[in-house]
Subunit: 301 residues, 2 copies
């Protein structure tokens, strides 16, 4: 399954992610109105490498958002070796991780992660994905989102979108609520089934869809008026987001478990969340429509 | 380690927990001002047994509180057998679980859990504890709390308090924050080192400390004025409470993992919580004092 390929170096990939972080932050700041900037927080990892966590808090549209880059290396932690059944060798991992929580409940929460992993014994792969968590599911928006992802996937392999769409449905699932986190998107892991160069091109393609997708929702929905009831529902949906991230998300659990940088890992949590015992949802409401569409296997296109 | 003892039946224990639930809810309602009542939510478990989850939302003093009773039985789930290295036999488990989140940041969050487990092959034990999570650590209050627990423990075994106090320090620990959840309390599990009757008496003693402890804090601190800054800090502390419960709490994880009743399990979560990237804490403030006392091994008495 491993294809050695020296044409793309880890440094090339790392620099591309770093560049993507800059580019995304600049475009998000602009779409947000330009007054509020990401706070750039560089950090180092004692065992090798480090990162740059960019955070926006209290923007005009984005209430709390993180765009994090990291490139770390060194001894592969025992837990990773065991979990992934890998032979012992040093590792290098680089990636970019984004979560944006908007003020307005009509603007969705978005998440993107792109990552590259390699070991000194030749093992390598890419992983990542984008998924959308609307507080209110709106078919038109869901179609827009999934169409953008499908278009990006189809440029590389027509089997990618259906496969990675199902993978996202399975991955972003809150088992104890029997509901998906949102309307899914695409998710892929340990991708190394073709030359590294080709997969890297695909990963770049996914990375480049992020700004057009999210700025579309910012422009379209951020000025929509909303009620207190809609705001409360947003905080309930954010509560579920917290539940997913702390209970199921592999990256989060793994990071916390292996002494990762907590503040960077938990940048994904919203500014505010709300829990209520048996939160009531009335039939024939947008909340009801949303709740009933938080399930696997919906074909949005 | 197992001592068979038929003098106390599972039904006696179950009824005592049920009675304790009634008594605690009545006393809390009274201390809260008497206008707001617990909503009583009975439920059944398809595989055997059920429970009664009592919830108060938007009381005068208690913003969100749950006092849950359950008694469940049947086939012991494989995961329990494996985790606890038990031989296969049917089980019976009953217990009471309480978490109270007050409006006023000067009133602490409190948690109590008391539980009894037995199997048809004669295995049995009690577990439980009480721990306090003040949003602001105040020495006098911490001493009051720990003294009440020590007094209850000492009536049964002078080794209990030091042992169970350390156990609580270890258990209520948020590893990824390198801080304890609060000022601890007592925690014990799989307690069966003496006749069942004696341990049951101890468990009852612990259960009876709950109301005097918490109503003391309700009366003492619920009318204290507080600032927006103090309220915000409360929401940050609650965020840590959410992190502990979803990432580490064994009961929560186990319940969610074994298809438990989600709404009852997650009644422990606060109404509102707040996360901020690198929340600033200034030196020589009550927040700083609190943060610096969220560590293991503090002898409050």
């Amino acid at each position: 399954m491993q294809i050695l390929d020296e044409s793309i170096t880890k440094n090339t990939i790392k620099l591309w992610f770093l560049h993507l972080q800059d580019h995304i932050c600049r475009d998000l700041e602009k779409a947000d109105g330009g007054q509020i900037h990401f706070k750039v927080d560089p950090w180092e990892r004692a065992e090798g490498g480090g990162g740059r966590t960019n955070i926006m808090q209290n923007g005009n549209i984005i209430e709390k958002g993180g765009v994090a880059f990291s490139a770390v290396w060194g001894h592969t932690p025992e837990k990773i070796l065991a979990a992934l059944k890998l032979e012992n060798a040093d590792f290098f991992a680089t990636g970019i991780s984004i979560v944006l929580h908007p003020h307005n409940p009509h603007v969705p929460i978005i998440h993107m992660n792109l990552r590259y992993f390699e070991m000194t014994n030749g093992v390598w792969w890419f992983g990542g994905g984008i998924d959308l968590t609307p507080h209110f599911v709106v078919d038109e928006d869901a179609r827009f989102f999934h169409q953008k992802l499908k278009t990006a996937c189809d440029l590389h392999d027509e089997l990618y979108y259906p496969k990675f769409k199902n993978w996202a449905d399975d991955y972003f699932f809150i088992k104890h609520r029997n509901e998906t986190r949102g309307i899914g998107g695409i998710f892929f892991d340990q991708l190394n089934d073709r030359p590294k160069e080709d997969i890297f091109e695909f990963v770049k393609q996914v990375g480049q869809t992020f700004v057009p997708i999210y700025t579309h929702f910012m422009q379209k929905n951020s000025q929509k008026p909303f009620t207190d009831k809609e705001k409360k529902w947003q905080l309930v949906r954010r509560g579920r987001y917290v539940e997913f991230n702390l209970v199921y998300d592999k990256g989060t659990k793994f990071g916390l478990d292996t002494n990762g940088r907590t503040e960077s890992i938990l940048m994904s949590l919203p500014s505010e969340a709300h829990w209520e015992y048996q939160f009531p949802i009335l039939e024939n409401t947008p909340e009801y429509y949303t709740q009933s569409h938080l399930k696997k296997g919906i074909e949005w296109l």
